[in-house]
Symmetry: C2
Subunit: 359 residues, 2 copies
């Protein structure tokens, strides 16, 4: 088992990573609160992994709230469903939510826990590679609104994160690859040695080698945690974690939500950010090629769909990271060295999009 | 104009109190954000005071969200209504909510602002005496659930509070008196000199003398702010502010919500807390009589409805401040000296309730 401590003063918490965590009675005894428990999960993950968690809870009673699976369920209405379950189970402030599932479950359950009695504890039990890397650190919780993704939410740090790598054995291949994107992104932002490690160990990761996965998850979480600890509320340094995301969000929106996975859209976004960086002389061309090659070898799309350069630019300008009027991007000055930029030549961005995404 | 600064590090904010604030263009220019504005109000206060605020905003455009009045409107559904309005008005993170109304509007709008894009700024413009005193300090926001009051919410400090005492001129008499309860409570918790001032100035307050009201509001807010600054999340010292409230909540629940105003129930609760304190020898009997007399002179009910001692005890035990099994109460060791107690003789509580609330 690997362990990473996210240091946020009073709100510090551990991330534990490895096989067999959900069924571990000592771990659950250590991290579950003394009060009443509500497990929130969905109808895909619940049947697969709730029995294992039940074993870990060693006969302790708990209430359950099972939501339908899918991003379309990330609504304020489902927050109300969880709150109803918390009330029905009579959880007090010493009660705890256990969120068993992917990012959607972690985000909805996290917002419900943040809001119930103005905040009760939550332990995140992420079951997808993306959630293990991306949702474990940062404390962002929330739900979607027809007007935008994650438009309603709260910052609410978990009490602990138990990332059981066994759960990745039931993850569809496409989801596994999409999760790798966030790991590659973390390396690109801040850790060149980790990027080289990923190049060497990609085969083990795709083969779901538990030790390799735990190592990759820990290192990616550590990068994110170091950035978030500096900057708990979204600002400056935290913006670096948006590498590839302004492109990625535009691809997701342009392709229609659900058509492309978030991790797939961001993979193409990372390549675009790298290639733009190379074109304007910030990043050696050889590095941009390494990035494209690693993501391609992971089976991820490295070129955006042909949405047209103008529609892409328009969608990018709508992204909420825009300030002023220039599209703020995160670019690379090297592998492991990301920087926020709004002074790049606009023509270079337009030419790149024309080439890669031109209709 | 009186001013009180609530010191909470980065989340510090001013409370401004006095006549003519809503219509003051310099004040609004200083405290309203540069971004887009949404005014949230209700259909009682809006028609009375929105024109004045519009004058203060000096032609700046703003969107409006008008909810029906009343505690029954404090629902998650209405939070969604406000969020829809925020989305429709395209507020970004530099936007701001202006909450114009009583405690209900402040609480719902506060929770909506806390949740929209994980937190945007809010300026509270409280228009009832209770809201000017009670909701201006503490950062509690939230809505009710059929399972309990304020069961869903967040801590979200305002950017500023502008308590315009002109708005108290349109407040019904009963609401004004109910608001006085929280002012008396604040004095009882921590400031004997202020209690004596209230005894001397009650007539001016009931006559809605603007200078007297501003002085009373500032001093009550200062007491609360000093306690909350020590202890931003609910704990220890903050519990002192619950003086009279465990009794009061039981009275509200027993009488049926809406039959008795919160301030009326707490007034009877303050007298019960004082009389219990006197009976067990913590408070001089003469002080308990002063408390009863001040509240009676303010036209507040000083005895609870005859709900029966046993039902009262049961309702008090259900209150969320209960720990273990003993009913934790805030008692008085003097006027201006409140203390949390769970070691009082249970028989004394039972005998008092039998006498005052016996059916």
């Amino acid at each position: 088992m690997q362990r990473l401590d996210v240091r946020l003063g009073k709100r510090s918490y551990p991330i534990l990573i490895g096989p067999g965590l959900l069924g571990s009675q000592p771990l659950l005894a250590e991290h579950a609160a003394a009060g009443k428990l509500l497990v929130v999960t969905d109808d895909v993950v619940g049947p697969l992994w709730l029995p294992r968690l039940e074993q870990g809870l060693a006969g302790r009673p708990f209430a359950t709230c099972v939501l339908p699976g899918g991003e379309s369920q990330k609504t304020l209405g489902n927050v109300a469903v969880i709150i109803d379950a918390l009330v029905a189970a009579r959880l007090n402030r010493d009660g705890m939510v256990l969120a068993l599932g992917g990012g959607v479950i972690g985000d909805i359950a996290g917002f419900a826990a943040a809001s119930y009695q103005r905040g009760i504890a939550i332990v995140q039990l992420p079951t997808t590679l993306l959630a293990q890397v991306d949702s474990s650190v940062g404390g962002k919780t929330g739900v979607n609104h027809p007007g935008g993704k994650n438009l309603i939410g709260a910052f609410h740090q978990p009490h602990a994160v138990l990332a059981d790598t066994d759960t990745l054995t039931t993850l569809p291949d496409r989801q596994l690859r999409a999760g790798l994107t966030e790991i590659v992104k973390a390396a690109l932002v801040a850790d060149a040695a980790f990027f080289a490690w990923l190049e060497q160990n990609l085969g083990r990761l795709l083969a779901r080698d538990s030790a390799a996965l735990a190592e990759a998850i820990r290192r990616a979480c550590a990068i994110k945690a170091a950035i978030v600890a500096d900057d708990e509320r979204e600002q400056d340094r935290r913006a670096l974690l948006n590498l590839g995301h302004t492109f990625g969000h535009a691809i997701e929106a342009g392709a229609g939500y659900g058509a492309v996975l978030h991790g797939e859209a961001v993979a193409a976004g990372l390549v675009l950010a790298a290639e733009l960086s190379a074109r304007i002389g910030r990043l050696p061309g050889a590095d941009a090629r390494r990035i494209r090659e690693l993501l391609a070898a992971a089976g991820l799309p490295v070129d955006p769909p042909r949405l047209g350069a103008a529609p892409m630019l328009e969608l990018m300008a709508m992204d909420k990271k825009v300030k002023g009027g220039a599209i703020r991007l995160v670019l690379l000055d090297g592998i492991g060295r990301a920087a926020v930029a709004d002074d790049y030549p606009r023509e270079a961005l337009e030419a790149l999009l024309e080439e890669r995404a031109g209709a």
